[in-house]
Amino acid sequence: MSNSRQAKPALYSQTLLAGLWRENPTLRLLLGMCPTLAVTAAVKPALTMGCCVIFVLVCSNIIVSLMRDLLKPHVRILMFTLTIATFVTIADLILKAFQPEMSETLGPYVPLIIVNCIIICRAEACASKNGLVISIIDAVGMGVGFTLTLCVLASIRELLATGAVFEIQVLPLARDGGWFVQWAAMGMPVGAFITLGLMLGLVNIVTGKKT
């Protein structure tokens, strides 16, 4: 007993760190690509999206973890989806009430969190097998890992598309007498696909992964 209690803090920090890098949902597991590509034209929507995902992930992991003994194998996925759909509705209503402009920008991508593979994957792989504390830590780790990836991708795209990061002008624009010419393509779907592709390539170099 004492042995397992000693191991707990190490297990917690390991679970937390796994989501940030070793099992980073976007970069290493290639989950949740649709929102990653769609909302990263600028940092602000990316950050909002990340916060929504963290909220839904934590709440659904809590509920799934609490009802894990009641789950029947054949209706499992349906139960997960319904739980997630409920929390996404809550997140969407909160966003509509307090951030109406942002809700407009994100459009259907907030309700699309329901079918985000990250959340179903975590419910299936972690919350339906583990206790409450581990599930919450896992959700926070995964959510933060997802948000960080989103923000990095969005900063690269926003910087190259408008010369600004978080709507603060960083590079002097050519039309205002500076030297930077905007890359309109970076704000379009092309930029999203190619930047993410190159980022994944970079991650493969860093980790030395051979495919």
């Binding site: 989806t81 699309l112 696909f193 592709g197 970079l202 992964k209």
Partner: protein
């Protein structure tokens, strides 16, 4: 004539201009996963087309004839996902009973379609675009499926040839697929001016 024109415009716009994969980033996961071989890609595309037509039409009917009448728009997402899961289950049961060979060739793809964002995405876009008639909704749903099939088949064709190319080690697999998709979406941007 006028109705036909609207329907045709809607179809072309959802296949080429608002292609779900290239401009709305929906259905990227199966797009990366099964676009390795062209026959599997076509099978996946057909399954998605079938489910998206069915669920797009059904959700439009539920949304307009039940939820909006009763003022229950809050429960929209829960209803949509239930309808989609139900439609997928129905298709699966029907195919296992009447077309066992087709069922075997689809295999794991069918249940996976439930979590395909292209399906739910399209149902939400139908609401967002403010589609007024049932026929228009059905045609657009069908068009979305065709657009997805087209995108995934083009990609599978390119990837079969890509196997022979000398890709840098770090870019093999998903990265090169994403970069190819980027170039494809650049090509599809050319359609943007077709309909005002």
């Amino acid at each position: 004539m006028d109705t036909l024109n609207i329907l045709l415009m809607g179809f072309i716009s959802v296949v080429l201009i608002n292609n779900l994969v290239f401009t709305k980033f929906l259905g990227i996961c199966p797009y990366l996963g099964v676009s390795g071989r062209i026959d599997m890609a076509f099978g996946m595309g057909m399954a998605v087309t079938f489910v998206v037509t069915l669920s797009g039409t059904l959700t439009w009917m539920i949304d307009h004839w039940v939820l909006m009448k009763l003022g229950l728009e809050v429960t929209r997402y829960v209803c949509f996902i239930l309808v989609i899961a139900g439609a997928v289950q129905l298709v699966e049961m029907y195919m296992r009973k009447f077309f066992p060979s087709l069922y075997d060739s689809f295999g794991i793809f069918l249940p996976l379609i439930t979590t395909n964002c292209a399906i739910l995405g399209l149902c939400l876009f139908l609401t967002l675009w403010g589609i007024e008639s049932l026929l228009d909704a059905a045609v657009r749903s069908f068009g979305a499926g065709i657009g997805f099939t087209m995108a995934i088949c083009i990609m599978a064709g390119i990837r079969e040839n890509l196997n022979l190319a000398d890709v840098p080690a770090c870019l093999q697999g998903a990265p090169i697929t994403l970069i190819t998709a980027g170039l494809l979406s650049l090509a599809f941007m050319g359609f943007a001016g077709m309909i005002r």
